[in-house]
């Protein structure tokens, strides 16, 4: 059974149709990279899939264990510490995660020493790392990532690739909107500019 089924979705931006009758089945273990020129609708499509924008035509059905969305904005409050933000992310998703597990994820990302640092004091790359940490923190089968490589250094990119591979191996799936391919095996590409 697919984790996500999208049927005949109309994707609009400013009342201009970007994708008409867009359909997609995402099976466990799949990695889909959404590519396309600027303005093709990559981010907008992901916002529909994440429920941030409402689908007025077509349907989006999740059959799995929910999703985690990491958008272009970090979704972290600059006044809160890294740990406070991660705790809020889990609470917002109605999940309970032990502090030790949050520490483990931060340690993997090389961010444990900054756990009590306000996010506003971090570099752009570190903020991005913290945003991506929610992928490992949340118990979600579907990952939706919008330009996840932005501001990341080589070690963080490796961490992301490894996390994606582990996630797929456990039966999860991911949709990634990106300009730079992740170069992971068995990736399905969807070019939004393709005729």
């Amino acid at each position: 059974m697919p984790l996500l089924t999208v049927s005949a979705l109309l994707v609009e931006a400013s009342e201009r149709p970007l994708l008409v009758d867009f359909s997609l089945d995402v099976e466990p273990g799949m990695l889909i990279e959404i590519t396309g020129l600027n303005g093709a609708g990559k981010t907008t499509l992901l916002r529909y899939l994440a429920g941030i924008r409402r689908a007025y035509q077509g349907t989006i059905d999740y059959h799995g264990h929910g999703f985690a969305y990491v958008g272009q904005k970090p979704g972290l409050n600059a006044s809160f510490t890294v740990m406070e933000n991660l705790k809020w992310i889990t609470q917002n998703a109605h999940q309970r995660v032990a502090e030790a597990d949050l520490n483990d994820v931060l340690a993997d990302l090389g961010m444990k020493s900054r756990r009590n640092t306000p996010v506003g004091s971090l570099s752009a790359g570190q903020v991005r790392r913290c945003g991506l940490a929610c992928l490992r923190v949340l118990d979600a089968e579907m990952w939706l990532l919008d330009e996840p490589l932005t501001s990341l250094d080589a070690s963080a990119v490796d961490w992301l690739k490894e996390s994606l591979s582990t996630h797929r191996g456990r039966g999860g799936a991911a949709i990634v909107a990106t300009h730079s391919t992740l170069n992971l095996p068995d990736t399905r590409f969807i070019d939004l500019n393709a005729p």
Binding site: R47, R53, N92
Partner: protein, 223 residues
């Protein structure tokens, strides 16, 4: 933990991290009340209770509007609002919790300053009770309307004037009812109807406005 408690705790913590958001409206309240008290020679006479009541209501209204104007603005900018809209089936409890915390950190301290303002404006002691009671309900409505206006103007830079234009007309009925209740009490007329009216509006605001604010939060993510 339910969504109300999560949002209440989060907004309270944010208020603690940004104390000026609460202190500035308090300073505004004290300064305006002091200026009016000083510019009327010797302060308003005891017979000018109506003036003192009107001044305190209007200053509390403006202070509350000042405190509510930034609601959800930071969440909109940093993408937290995306996460709220994305992960939650209903934003109703989140909005209620957030506005309740906002009332607690901004309006509650302002209410604590009302006795000081009443003293500076020579308000009869016997009127302090009715004034305070009506202002409690009024401040709840003002906070909800302020957050509603702030949500309507999310994403619009320099939204102060627009916010005032949108929200001030909504405040007028509550202001008239509140001041009317106090003045009727002063002239020993029946004031209960007006007082019940403000509390009824406050109850309606607590119950129904979170639906409107939640819907606006969703709309703010549509563009």
């Amino acid at each position: 933990m339910n969504a109300f408690v999560i949002a209440f705790n989060r907004t309270l913590r944010l208020g603690w991290r940004h104390p000026l958001d609460s202190l500035n409206p308090m300073a505004f309240f004290i300064i305006v009340t002091s200026l009016i008290s000083l510019t009327i020679e010797g302060g308003p006479a005891a017979s000018e209770n109506a003036l003192a009541i009107a001044v305190l209501w209007v200053v509390l209204l403006l202070s509350t509007m000042m405190a509510s104007g930034s609601a959800f603005a930071q969440d909109f900018e940093d993408g937290t609002l995306e996460q709220m809209v994305s992960q939650q089936q209903s934003l109703y409890a989140t909005v209620q919790g957030s506005v309740a915390a906002r009332w607690f950190i901004s309006s509650f301290p302002l209410l604590a300053l009302v006795p000081l303002g009443a003293w500076m404006l020579n308000l009869d002691l016997q009127l302090w009770g009715i004034l305070f009671l009506s202002l409690i309900a009024g401040s709840v409505v003002f906070t909800f309307f302020g957050v509603l206006g702030a949500t309507l103007t999310l994403g619009i830079g320099r939204n102060g004037v627009l916010l005032a234009l949108l929200v001030l007309p909504l405040y007028v009925p509550v202001l008239l009812l509140g001041v009317g209740a106090c003045q009727r009490y002063t002239s020993e007329e029946s004031f209960e109807f007006a007082l019940i009216g403000i509390f009824a509006i406050a109850t309606a605001a607590i119950t129904f406005l979170p639906f409107a604010i939640a819907a606006l939060l969703r709309v703010s993510q549509e563009y």
